[in-house]
Point group: C3
């Protein structure tokens, strides 16, 4: 068996924004997470500005995230070196000379309630490259969000969303047959992939019906799934009375972004939005429903799938391809091409 060669260094897309945490999950304490195998420590300075530094002390490799926030930056929990938000060692309590070796500084950008981090070349960290999730900033919507941590390669998580037909089998409580029996189209626009579903004059899935307040009403039903590399996605359900145009439809958009910790484990950032109701009981119900589906249905399935792959790559296993896989396959090929391109640039004589 060939070991998945994506475990080797240089097999993630380095020059990309990855969500590392929800803004609300970073309080006044340090927060440590490993992203594409790089340990990171996050903290807020006195103005509330978020900083991300390499999470491993260069002195004795202690986890900086177990240290503490001090005036000049963050203090290593083991021997007290302090690193400023510029990554440089600000205080060395042991010597007159402060060591030149610091920790990496990673650009972060706060957008849509998420802290995005860029661990590639700093000068390419352009915030305009973050895909748009306008429903998270639109006051006519409200949303609930969270983070799941699960076993398995992050592309399996993208595949899961790019082929929502799985809902008919894995999320049986949703009555989501529309994802399976609707008309499906797959489009590519540059590096962006779309899976589009249309199913006219029928009951939408339970979750869409409830969120859009059309329970027991036959509707024309659209689902638009959008993928941007490396693994940032939206799913937008839309319903309208039969025969009405799509642009008058009621929307239920959601965000699904998969940040690899390593090849073997993934952070799943999610948010689900609906037309504003200001009803906290309703919000709690939606939230509980999403968490149930992700934690108890998607996550165990992806873990089992990953284990049965036994360390082989997806393509080495020669998967049977069905019509619903077109989105996932386009995404895999796009991502593979971008990673290969990045590697070529790294290896070119000019670099």
């Amino acid at each position: 068996m060939a070991r998945d060669n994506r475990t080797a260094k240089g097999n993630f897309l380095e020059n990309a924004w990855y969500p590392i945490a929800w803004d609300a999950d970073l309080g006044s304490e340090l927060l440590g997470r490993t992203i594409i195998t790089k340990p990171i420590v996050l903290f807020r300075d006195d103005e509330g500005v978020i900083h991300a530094l390499g999470g491993r002390c260069p002195h004795r490799f202690a986890p900086l995230a177990r240290g503490k926030r001090v005036e000049q930056g963050i203090e290593c929990p083991y021997h007290g070196l302090i690193f400023g938000s510029d990554g440089r060692c600000a205080v060395n309590p042991h010597d007159d000379i402060v060591p030149k070796t610091g920790v990496p500084v990673y650009p972060v950008y706060l957008r849509y309630g998420l802290i995005w981090i860029w661990t590639g070349d700093n000068d390419r960290a352009d915030a305009s490259l973050i895909p748009d999730f306008p429903f998270l900033e639109d006051p006519t919507f409200e949303y609930t969000c969270g983070t799941i941590y699960g076993a398995g390669h992050y592309e399996l998580y993208s595949d899961n969303i790019l082929d929502l037909s799985h809902a008919a089998y894995l999320h049986t409580g949703l009555n989501a047959s529309a994802f399976l029996i609707g008309q499906r189209k797959f489009e590519q626009d540059g590096n962006r992939i779309w899976t589009r579903i249309f199913h006219p004059n029928d009951y939408a899935s339970d979750v869409t019906s409830i969120i859009c307040d059309v329970v027991d009403k036959k509707q024309d039903h659209w689902v638009d799934v959008r993928w941007d590399p490396p693994a940032a996605m939206t799913v937008t359900g839309l319903v309208a009375d039969p025969g009405q145009p799509k642009d008058v439809a009621i929307q239920s958009p959601s965000l699904h972004i998969f940040t690899p910790e390593s090849d073997e484990a993934t952070f799943y950032f999610w948010a689900a939005a609906w037309p504003r109701r200001n009803d906290p009981v309703f919000a709690d119900q939606v939230r509980a429903g999403f968490i149930h589906a992700f934690e108890n249905e998607d996550k165990p399935m992806i873990k089992a799938q990953y284990e049965l792959m036994g360390g082989d790559t997806f393509w080495d296993l020669q998967p049977v391809l069905l019509r619903g896989d077109a989105g996932g396959v386009k995404a895999r090929r796009t991502l593979a091409r971008l990673i290969a391109h990045e590697r070529e640039q790294d290896n070119s004589p000019a670099s």
Copy 2:
């Protein structure tokens, strides 16, 4: 240290019947088990006939055993492909075209209350190759049976039974010194190995005495251990009043078959029989006694032994060989020869 090369593909005996489950343990639900590293799903059709298919969906590698039994076969829990008992995809809910790639179909045979599976060449799956365990079909006997799952290479489990002298030390509650002090003979008949013990005019082990109802009576005591490749064994205790011929002896036969999940873990199928008494309390006591010995004595010892081998092969560790090892050594050599022969056939130009 040389890693045990039996972990590599082609190091199990492929063309052999392996028990995969007791018939009684397969209800109307699907049952998933991995046998010689191959994931398998078992199910019964509407006529109650048992079928065994490859347990990994060829589409997205989901575990079919988590799916469900439907009219046409079994439905994958992830995207709903249905595979019939012929292994072919019967229903693809996503496309008009049904994929040609299915899952392997493995011959199964129900005998002695065990479901036997053959994962080698289908055309060599001859049910007459299953060794005989007549006491499980003999109405003058009754029996209790079960399945143990334990760490360690399956040949260590065979060794354990082929040298029952261990009972004097590991199963101290049994007072089984006859296995140690009796006369021992080792015979080979083709690929079948026998270890025979005879100990005249003494108390048999507690378990034999109780099962054969000769407690506190001195007896002539025989124990015949039979091994067939890859790891199917019987142990038959016999007792008779001193000087009586063996063919009038009271028998207490038992079955011990070891099916490798992988090189690192083993399913232990066991059954213990005794002259019929129709006494359920007695049956429960015998059952509890066997389970105690297997779970609390044999299984932890084999696990410890396997761990102390540290990944080296049995022969690389140059084991000291005692007289009692003759059965185990003959079995190991026979199995190694059969596996080597199978590999040569696979590599020959004609194959």
Copy 3:
């Protein structure tokens, strides 16, 4: 990443005394431990003399430590071979012939309440090579001692003690700033390394102040840390009224010895002594304080550090070196030189 090559055989110092247990922890039962990857079984003979044998039976690799003490030695729990204190098979209950292959015999030496073992060349096992810990034999002191088992390479444990400045950050409850702000000197005398701290006219750390009964009194404060290869250390705190000479100071010596189980886990033998008080409540408080610091502060930090090293060697990670690291670096270089020298001898044509 280069895997730490110290995981390979021949990468521990073989010809050295390692503590394997406190004498008080070896009762009449067998005790099994693995030291520098070698399984060992310890037992006392009828005269109370301690013996150490290889812990893996040469017959079927069973753990001898699960066996029992019998008249002629120790009996294997699996098939009953008995090995005498000379390592030879004394009894083979299976054959007339006793196998020639026995188990290794390791010299042991009881000193300072510790059982020291030598697994290198027997004829080099000179007890005078054991470093001296006189405070454990001095009736003017009393002490408490224990054993911790933790994850991580043993040299990380030595580093931890050779740079006590960590106490100011990791053991914040101790108010041990003297270790950080005092004058530090590093000396090498043959293979012995010293880190010496002096801090005049200030409050000593809480632990030293309590143990030496100088709470709330400004003192001149010395700390002498001594390292002998492979990882045997003393820490001696000394306090005296300001301006008094060191030789009248009150002492609080402690022992810290790190015995590798493997490259990945370490036994931490410790003892802390103080001027005799004959106060068991005080002794219990000291004991609880040391156990808290080791178990809840040092051990989790070293585990985290080891994990963040990700299998790379210490030097490959190009650690930033601070003044406080001089002791640890000298110790690492000394140990590396001794191990390399031992390997060269093993590979020389004459050996």
